[in-house]
């Protein structure tokens, strides 16, 4: 890396420090933590786009699947719900999978023709009715168990950090299915397929209450770092607060936030180390060769589809990991809050602005764009106040403009993406 990278990172650190000094340290730490998570997501997207030129428009889906893993791993199980319908729900899921497998077997074994189509259809129809006869009542029974606070199966009650790799695995599984279907075809098919799967993942999270409590949200998920409330009573925090001259509450939340920051930085560091190693290895050279000239890479005997599938799964797994980390930081899974503009397209802006094909660039993009995303909103409000300052108080237009100031940041991000793509397509820290 030339001097430019460290300089830009130093500037970024300075900006965060300014937030700490002039706004509050709590805010600075919050931005830092979310930046670290965003950076990991950007790393995942960068693997797909920067290494292989694959266009994944479903980042939201993969992060949400990762978030689901946290609930399934870390939440305590709900014994009543398991008794009410746990076996039925699991059996239903198995039957569903068995139906699809049976259809595939029938499709592969029978000779081509009308009989095959009818047989596959019959298998699917029978399987569907058996599955829904088992699955439907079981899930209803589960959702009826203490619906105000439970109404779902709960998780395994394991330590929450264990959920992070599981989240990556979940996302990898989903990515494998999507990639298997849509890779090897026209390059925009993958984009459209990932757009679809991310909508479906969110729909499943929202409406399969027996699994994720749906729009009722799962809250109070176990955290890997002590909560600020618990820290407030710790003597060392109190003495730290005294020596800093802050109040205890603020100190506790900063300390807790720093704990997360440490954990996240550890994960991010490991990922960067691994991806840099991969980038500089023969494997990385092969990926770039495929990206830059697919035809000649294929002529050299590379199995392009398999390599694409591998990197697509890998990148999505990283997104899933980040999604799991985000849920364990918030301590809650809120399926209603997953929005494609925030979780897919913003990550893309990070990668493009930071520098696609450069791991450090993607990380820097994550920091810069998240910082702007948080800070543009007050700037937008200030701008709108300036614009409307000449208008009469209470006029409809003024109220409307002030109310819609928060949408300014979508606009800003779009303009930033377009400008970077046009004038500096290689990003802040270009690919070497």
């Amino acid at each position: 890396m030339s001097a430019r990278g460290p300089l830009l990172f130093a500037l970024m650190g300075l900006a965060l420090a300014c937030v700490g000094l002039f706004q509050s340290w709590q805010l600075a730490i919050t931005i830092l933590n979310m930046s670290l998570i965003s950076a990991i997501m950007a790393l995942g997207v960068n693997m797909q786009w920067g290494y292989a030129g694959l266009f994944n428009v479903g980042v939201m889906g993969f992060t949400a699947v990762g978030g689901l893993a946290v609930v399934l791993v870390a939440q305590p199980p709900v014994p009543e719900a398991w008794a009410a319908g746990g076996a039925g729900a699991l059996l239903g899921l198995l039957l569903g999978v068995a139906t699809i497998l049976a259809a595939i077997v029938v499709y592969q074994r029978l000779p081509k023709g009308r009989m095959r189509g009818l047989a596959v259809f019959a298998v699917l129809a029978v399987g569907y009715f058996i599955t829904s006869a088992v699955f439907g009542p079981a899930t209803q029974a589960i959702e009826a168990v203490n619906p105000a606070s439970e109404g779902y199966l709960g998780g395994l009650g394991l330590p929450v950090v264990l959920a992070w790799p599981v989240g990556a695995l979940f996302a990898a599984g989903v990515a494998w299915m999507v990639g298997k279907v849509s890779l090897g075809l026209r390059s925009d098919y993958l984009a459209i397929a990932t757009l679809g799967i991310s909508e479906i993942v969110i729909a499943v999270l929202k409406f399969e209450g027996w699994m994720s409590r749906g729009v009722n949200n799962v809250t109070g998920i176990d955290r890997p770092v002590a909560r600020p409330v618990d820290l407030q009573t710790a003597p060392w925090v109190q003495s730290l607060a005294d020596s800093l001259g802050w109040d205890v509450q603020q100190t506790a939340s900063v300390v807790s936030g720093l704990g997360y920051a440490g954990l996240f930085a550890l994960v991010l560091g490991a990922l960067i180390w691994l991806s840099e190693r991969a980038w500089n290895s023969p494997w990385g050279r092969m990926m770039r060769a495929i990206r830059d000239n697919e035809v000649s890479a294929r002529a050299m005997g590379k199995d392009v589809k398999q390599r694409h599938l591998a990197i697509f799964v890998l990148g999505s797994a990283v997104c899933g990991l980040a999604g799991a980390m985000m849920v364990s930081m918030d301590g809650q899974l809120t399926p209603g809050s997953y929005e494609p503009l925030r979780f897919t397209f913003l990550i893309w802006v990070m990668v493009i602005v930071g520098g696609s094909g450069n791991n450090w660039g993607a990380v820097l993009g994550g920091f810069v764009i998240w910082f702007l995303w948080v800070q543009v909103e007050p700037a937008g409000r200030w701008f709108m106040e300036l614009v409307t300052s000449g208008m009469a108080d209470g006029s409809d237009l003024k109220d409307h403009l002030l109310a819609s100031a928060s949408y300014m940041r979508l606009l800003t991000m779009g303009v930033a993406l377009l400008l970077m793509l046009r004038f500096a397509p290689r990003g802040l820290i270009p690919e070497r």
């Binding site: 030129g53 266009f55 428009v57 569907y128 439907g136 279907v181 849509s182 075809l185 026209r186 390059s187 925009d188 098919y189 984009a191 459209i192 397929a193 757009l195 679809g196 799967i197 909508e199 479906i200 729909a203 929202k206 409406f207 494609p340 503009l341 397209f345 893309w348 802006v349 493009i352 109310a403 819609s404 949408y407 300014m408 940041r409 979508l410 606009l411 800003t412 991000m413 779009g414 303009v415 993406l417 377009l418 793509l421 046009r422 397509p425």
Partner: protein
Amino acid sequence: MDFLNALVSLSNFMLIPALAYGSQLALGALGITLVYSILRFAHFAHGDTMALGTAAVIGGTFALQSAGVNIAPLPTALLAVPFGVVAMVLYLLAADRLVYRYYRRVRAKPMIFVMASLGVMFVTNGITRLFMGVGETRFEDGERFVFSVREFRDFTGLAEGLALRNAQFITIVTALIVMVALFWFLNRTRAGKSMRAYSDNEDLALLSGINPERVVTITWVITAILLVLAGTLYGLDKGFRAFNYFQLLLPMFAAAILGGLGNPLGAIVGAYVVAFAEMGVTFAWRRVVSYMLPDGIEPSGMVQLLPVDYKFAVTFAILVIVLLFRPTGIFKGKVL
């Protein structure tokens, strides 16, 4: 009688809504397929541009309404459509000049175009929300029904009722007119033929003196007309909410791919297949089935294959099946 009742119930709750929805999708998918065959990229900003166009129409409608202009029994919005079309033609041409033209000139990879259209989508989305917020706006006025459930029952004496909403009727008729006009344009006019030639073989078209920039401009103009109409009809039918238009992107792409990207006829067929599949799978067949079964036997549940929330899953399943078994679509794509 039972059979008639079943048919009427089915039409009321599924066939007519699906026909209207399919027509709206078809207009949208036609736009996607046109952009794809001329500019050769997947236009991700389509849904949001549709929303912005509809927002312009809504603005025009409100202005007309406050000026006391109306064309009852038809909704005032139809009168405001030309305004929306002009606005969107200007908007899309501006986007083309400011964003896409550069990438055309440097012959960028298709993925770069898609990325740029993502940026345009972001900006469009921001502008729409700036004007309209995120809530729902209804702008349907004029007569609500061509005929209502009660009128139908009194007329036919059947137990089941059938209503045809004005918005649905207008949608189906407009879509039909627009499709016919589009095919006439593509097959009979000089400009349409030059578009087809350009889509078929770019180099050959250039050699025979077709001006590519002109073809591109015409494409954007047609796309603007199609998407403003699609958006307005969808909004009249279901109310305007910016996010719903973004979500239309998936069914529209699925329709275009199912029919064969770049094939207008395919886009229309694909749109109706997607619409009927979505509605059919998420439709509660209980009433229809109970009419069809012999007396005394009633289905126990709703007889609904999937809850309505999963209609996108249906679209996605169609997409996956197409990609697995016939990636070029029903009609071989990539010809106009």
